[in-house]
């Protein structure tokens, strides 16, 4: 419990730091919000009027505190750029709520791919005594890890999209329209995300298992007359999975926070792309919230992993 509170305080402090940093960044970032909105033709009076409407004429500290109070009250503010209707700007919450499922589903599909492929692969690899398999997997995973995600995205597009025509590049369908089609399309970007991570996870699991296999308790298990299989699945796997859980947590955090590059390559309207476009249009309320969201997700996932770790590893749970 005390640990929990401590973690929570750390989380809040980090969020605070990040929000201040993001806020500050937008004070010094070149490119005026008002110019960006009004373009080149507006009169100075109009600019001043908008500045006032947006509250930009107030001192930064006051603006920051107003904004923080609003956010704490659950009001995430409104986009400068996107309108919901003529009288209303798009609330940031709604805007992000719209994009978030794309990123989350992408993360989910990637994660399923990673877990479903990497874990059996890692176990197989650790169990295998075949030098050939070992060498092949070694090379394949090394190469997979060396491919940058955008290049992988391009290769996947080229191979599965253009050559094999498994999917039509750019034929993203909104999840609201056709969920099946949406998932089918997500498979390929998810694959591009997953491949290097599968390689990393499988390697990691294998090394973890090999390390665990050196542990004394494995010898004890054998001394009881356990079969190799029983030792592997009854004793080693669970213990070897623990560091892998942390590792997977890092991966989850990374994907859930937005796979900007992959979203760019495959034209997915997720939060990564929203962030990029919002930065370039100086849509400050959106950017601030997105940055906070991402920070929150990352820290929160780490936190969850930490908790999970405590649940599955009895050694830590009492600390």
């Amino acid at each position: 419990m005390k640990y929990f509170i401590k973690k929570l305080i750390t989380l809040i402090m980090t969020l605070f730091l990040v929000s201040v940093a993001a806020f500050l960044a937008f004070q010094i970032i070149p490119g005026d919000v008002v110019t960006s909105i009004l373009g080149t033709e507006a009169t100075p009076e109009r600019e001043e009027q908008l500045r006032e409407e947006l509250g930009l004429n107030k001192p930064p500290v006051e603006r920051y505190f107003n904004w923080v109070t609003d956010v704490l009250r659950g009001d995430l503010g409104e986009s400068y750029r996107f309108s919901k209707s003529m009288n209303e700007m798009m609330p940031v919450a709604e805007l992000i709520g719209d994009k978030l499922p794309v990123t989350l589903w992408l993360a989910a599909v990637s994660l399923v791919l990673i877990i479903v492929i990497a874990i059996p692969l890692g176990v197989l690899w650790a169990r295998s005594s075949s030098h050939f398999l070992d060498a092949v997997l070694g090379v394949v995973t090394q190469v997979s890890m060396a491919v940058p995600s955008f290049f992988l995205g391009i290769l996947v597009t080229y191979l599965f999209g253009i050559l094999l025509k498994f999917f039509a590049p750019g034929s993203y369908v909104s999840y609201q329209e056709d969920f099946g089609g949406f998932l089918k399309y997500l498979l390929f970007p998810a694959l591009s995300i997953a491949i290097p991570k599968i390689a990393m996870t499988a390697r990691f699991l294998r090394n973890s298992m090999l390390t665990e296999l050196q542990a004394d308790y494995v010898r004890t298990a054998y001394s009881k007359g356990c079969t190799k299989r029983r030792v592997m699945y009854g004793h080693v796997l669970r213990n070897a999975m623990m560091p892998v859980v942390t590792f997977l947590g890092m991966i989850i955090a990374e994907i859930v926070a937005g796979s900007i590059v992959i979203e760019q390559v495959f034209g997915l309207p997720g939060i990564g792309r929203l962030l990029i476009s919002s930065i370039s249009t100086r849509d400050f309320p959106v950017v601030e919230i997105l940055i906070l969201y991402i920070t929150f997700v990352v820290i929160f996932v780490y936190f969850l992993v930490d908790i999970l770790y405590r649940v599955i590893d009895p050694r830590i749970s009492e600390v």
Partner: protein
Amino acid sequence: MGRRDSPVSPAPVFCKLRKVRGMQECRMSGRMEDIMIRIEDLSVAFGDTEAVKHVNLELIDGEVLGVVGESGSGKSVTALTLMGLVADSAQVTSGRVLFDDVVLREAGKPCDKALYRQYQGARMSMVFQEPMTSLNPTQRVGKQVEEMLRLHTELRGEDRKQKVLEAFRSVGLREVEKVYSCYPHQLSGGMRQRVMIAMAVILHPRLIVADEPTTALDVTIQNQIIELLREINQKQNNAMLFITHDLNLARRLCNRIAVMKDGEVVELGETEEIFQNPREAYTKRLIEAVPSRVKRRRNAAAESGMGEPAGSGPDGKIPAGGEAAEKAGTEQEECAVQGWNTGREQGAGLERSAGQEKSAGLQECAVQGYRKPILRVRNLSVYYKDGDNSLFSRRKKQCVVFGAEFELYPGESLGLVGESGCGKTSLSKAILGMNREVEGEIVHTTLRPQMIFQDPYSSLNPTKTIGWQLMEPLRARAALDQAFAMTREEMETAAYDMLHKVGMEDKYFHRKPSQLSGGQRQRVSIGQALITHPGMIVADEPVSALDVTIQAQIMELMQKLQQEMHLSYLFISHDINVVYRMCDRIMVMKDGRIIESGETEEIFNHPREAYTKMLLGA
């Protein structure tokens, strides 16, 4: 030394030694089936290096056979090969292992794991050295013991659990239900080892292999476990292969002892026979090396006064005691010139180095107020701070040493004895100023007392050469005080001198610690501590990580240097015998308090506290 038994005729040796149990008759009449375990001419190699060479061992029901040897002697590999647990990379290059005439393992054939599984657990089981790591850290211990039943019996859920609880009770565990659902880390070391033993004996196997089962435990717990093993052996009448580096332990438990060295069995015989009449030089040395109360005075006198050779270990030359005594005088003068000691202290040192009964002399001095203590500790309490340096959590202070009071006199060795966690290390750190959370008074007259640590592997900076490390204290001293400025040549000369003094050759000057053995590293550590002539040394378990023969050498070295350089030692150890050999006076510490202190002989002969008695009994 280094006798190699002919692989075909090991029998004569056995026959001679086995009369007590009537083994000879058995073998003569050809009733081979009574011999349960037979290891015949076993050699095990890892790649090109043979770890076990032509070993022959036999065991019958109810017998406890000790296998004694120092690290690397091949005793564990032998046991693991017997159990079918040796790594796949190990090859049996000769001989075979039989269990009731069934060949379990044979030279040139891979390990038949399916065959072994019929024996492992059910008919032979093993107790390992580290109960913490030998238990699966993420499984409840009850389940782990129960796995034995799952694998080898038809018992069902609740029956299995009852059987496990019963086994727990039989190994002296209390609150067995609670223990059943504990994870290994929630148990104490002793309890864990009891769980391991329960696991080993639950199916009443005919053979139990115990590989250093008490080494990782405190002395008092050690005793209990030994008693438990003895008890089980008597109750269940199973044979036991007891592997240890500790001759004393073997002596207490075993019917017969096999002494191993460099992969070979160099001597095998009835326990008492071996102790009384060791035939091999190595066995003799092993017995000699064990610090024993019986031998202490005689040895000390012999080494320092009578010039009896102390035996030469692999580390090479150690100047014999006589020479040391001769040199002592000049050394003392040097010290005096450098202003480290007073004239009177010098006198005391010389007096002692003449080989007289020193503690008496010192006691006398102290009583007379003849000498000033080099260290005085008054009402010292030491606190331990929670390591967490977060801003949020208030630091909790925990008292680990309560009101310690004592003095250390020049040239004296003061022993500090206690089990792990009693506060002896905290006390020593406080004295050296490494822990500033203290209350009370510490006064020492030396400039910079130095320390020698237990682990020779972490005591030296792995990236620096030995020469550099020996010179570093001189550089540091010069940086602090211009008066001690030395040229590089002078430093090098001093470093070489020190290297010689700790019994090492010039060539080591340019080597790094990774190229040195444990004993050699400890020598360098000692040399590094002494190069600035600190006068007082705190030695925290300086020999407990070393093999017994090396232990003896290091202790000799420390005693020699003490005389030569007129040093005071605060000698910390859990090993009562080591302390006995090294120290003039002893303090016994328990739960942060010094509960008893006095002259060594006095404590040993007339312990006042029950705890001290228990320690001595171990």
